[in-house]
């Protein structure tokens, strides 16, 4: 196994990110487990500045939505984006440094929060680090634009389109989070649009980029219809940023933006159908069977579809008071992140033979890993939906009856209803952590002791 400190081309860079991704995922899943374990073992854990829910929750958000997202973005950018250009990347050394910067700043965010908790609020998202992130992502945006303009292929492939869309909206999300807060509605605006651009568009688009690649090339299938993939791209790009406002229905946000959010959320059915038809028809035309991680990819599509359907269902006006501002909102995030993780794992298994020249032996270890991830993410979605509905219903029942359940006194009643789901969340996150650990072992095993195979060679010319 050879990983060069200063990669000379896109493939050598991709090798690095194939290795980084499982590590970031394991870190994220560990923090997530600690966070969830807090609810189940609050009385057993030591009471200190690390083992308290608020701190772990912030760290978990940064690890999952920052670091894991960043690692996936870098892996797909270094491998898929360059493949779509038909030439070597323009300014490759700067691309290398910028991609390292993306993962580096996200990791730095976690470190700053861990070691400088008291000043994290000033150092973190609100000032210094966010400026650095903006600088790095702006650099990535510039390089992506430059490379697209210098492309040699006639067509812009779907994967490159989605990656570019993700980079642009990632940048926008960083500008939004920097916005000044003047009045109370600002926090809802900032939070909604940040979620819409960073999580909904950013995560979903990296996921889409990987799926559009994996459903064609490794299976030797031909993309069923480019128009459908364009509908998927432009549809999600236009709709997704608007879809989080609805969860603040009835709040101080302007009514028009809440209503638009409801209607646009329902319109997600159009790009979703376009994507599903394209995926199913493309997969049907596959020429190669037995791609080991195909079932993981298929499951990620199911997970993504369920998440989007939840997104649409929650737009109904009668359901919004129950679902808004509860754990249900997290279901959408979990679903998207889960889909991205499954797709990236699938991509990494495809890339190991191509980049490292080592066959992946799909043994019992991989079967258990795949099963663990699939069942965990599915359970996570179901459990948090139940949790959101239960808590939302009890809050509202209490509020309507004029009883104090929405305040401190009656909280015991609510907690007795939802505490079981928090314990289940702990169990699920333990399953995920175990699967993440097995995944890391599986990748290391394949890279170090897999049978030798031909390495993919890409000899591009910039002439």
């Amino acid at each position: 196994m050879k990983i060069k400190l200063f990669p000379k081309n896109e493939q050598e860079l991709s090798k690095l990110f194939v290795l980084i991704f499982p590590l970031t995922l394991l870190l994220s899943l560990t923090i997530s487990f600690l966070k969830n374990a807090y609810f189940t073992f609050a009385n057993l854990l030591p009471n200190n500045s690390v083992f308290n829910y608020g701190f772990l929750d912030r760290l978990d958000t940064q690890a999952a939505l920052g670091l894991v997202f960043g690692a996936s973005l870098c892996l797909s950018f270094s491998y898929l984006f360059s493949k779509s250009l038909g030439r070597s990347m323009v300014l490759f050394p700067i691309v290398f440094l910028t991609l390292l910067g993306v993962v580096g700043t996200e990791f730095l965010d976690i470190l700053v929060n861990f070691f400088f908790q008291n000043s994290a609020y000033d150092l973190g998202n609100s000032s210094l680090l966010i400026l650095l992130k903006i600088l790095v992502v702006f650099g990535l945006f510039g390089l992506a634009t430059l490379n697209l303009l210098a492309k040699k292929e006639a067509s812009i492939f779907a994967s490159a389109q989605f990656i570019y869309g993700a980079v642009v909206f990632y940048l926008i999300s960083l500008f939004i989070v920097r916005a000044e807060l003047n009045v109370f509605s600002d926090i809802f605006l900032v939070n909604s649009l940040y979620t819409g651009t960073h999580i909904y568009v950013g995560v979903a688009f990296i996921y889409m980029a990987i799926v559009h690649f994996l459903m064609t090339r490794p299976l030797q299938a031909v993309l069923f219809n480019k128009t459908l993939s364009s509908i998927t791209f432009w549809g999600f790009l236009f709709l997704l940023p608007w879809t989080n406002f609805k969860y603040y229905y009835g709040s101080v946000l302007p009514n028009w933006i809440e209503n638009i959010s409801i209607y646009l959320s329902m319109s997600l059915v159009v790009p979703l159908l376009a994507f599903l038809v394209n995926y199913i028809k493309t997969i049907q035309s596959k020429e190669v069977d037995g791609v080991g991680s195909l079932n993981l990819l298929n499951f990620s599509v199911i997970l993504f579809s369920i998440t989007t359907i939840f997104h649409m269902i929650s737009s109904f006006e009668n359901l919004l008071p129950i679902l808004g501002i509860t754990n249900f909102v997290n279901v959408i995030t979990y679903g998207l992140i889960g889909s991205l993780v499954l797709a990236t794992i699938s991509l990494s298994y495809y890339l190991i033979p191509k980049l490292y020249g080592r066959e992946v032996n799909y043994s019992r270890l991989e079967d258990i890993t795949f099963f663990g991830f699939k069942i965990s993410y599915l359970l996570l979605l179901i459990n948090n939906t139940v949790l959101g509905v239960n808590s939302g219903y009890s809050w509202n029942a209490g509020a309507n009856a004029g009883s104090p359940t929405i305040y401190g006194e009656g909280y015991g009643i609510v907690w007795s209803l939802i505490s079981f789901n928090f314990s289940v969340n702990t169990f699920i996150s333990l399953l995920l952590l175990g699967s993440g650990f097995l995944y890391l072992i599986s990748v290391l095993r394949a890279i170090s002791s897999g049978s030798i195979t031909t390495v993919e060679e890409m000899v591009y010319s910039n002439d």
């Binding site: 609050a42 754990n327 929405i406």
Partner: protein, 269 residues
Amino acid sequence: MRRTQVSDLVNKVAELLNAPVDLVQRSAEARAQASGKSVEEVLSSWAGGESVAASATPAPKEEATVEEAPKEEAPVVEEVVEEVVEEVVEETETQEVVEEVVEEVVELKNESALSFISGVLLVGLFTFLFAFVIPKNQATDIVSDSLNNSISASNEVIKGAEVYAELNCQSCHTQNVRTLIPDTQNGKVLKNKFANETLINNVGNIRLGPDLSTSATREPTNNSQWLTRYLSDSTSVNRDIPHPSYDFLDDDDLEYLVTYLLSLGESNE
């Protein structure tokens, strides 16, 4: 048996050319019809012939390109292949046909990178303007026009709000942002006012624990001694609800936090 052989040959040629199987099959059939040979013979010549060998090591650029070639391009390829097979057939032309198949597969609709980039940036700009800048200004204008448009908070309260934000209390507690009327009719959020950034950030987005907007108006959370005890060791008050204990806070920070919590629920009229 023969069918299996043909199928194997098609697969082999497709693999060599890195082209879709159905395309190779159609091309071979067209070639066979034009030349009077059997499909098997045509495929054999392609699979073993020098011409194929020459094109069987396609440049990696082509490899990358074929992956997402839209299927809708296939009819064009077919037409071209049929056009070619109408010409005089010789062994050298077989090579041309095969190469043409590969070339045509990768010939895609010409898309302008500039238009695509402009499109994405326009959607981004549109979203930023209409989903953020305009509603944000709208909300600020409404507040600016109101008579009482600012919240006054003491330094101790602001410091307490900062401790509250650092501990990320807003990840569990809201301050009256529920969407039902009984929930939202009381409290700060409906009274849009200019406020300290930390106070705004503390409003919270997801409710896990109780809402705190009126905590200072109710028993026992209006009691500073009770609050201090609860925040220092929550299990001494209630073991069932997993509230964090903040005994790691220094005395000043704990006092600021209590002062801030006791300010919640004051009238903002």
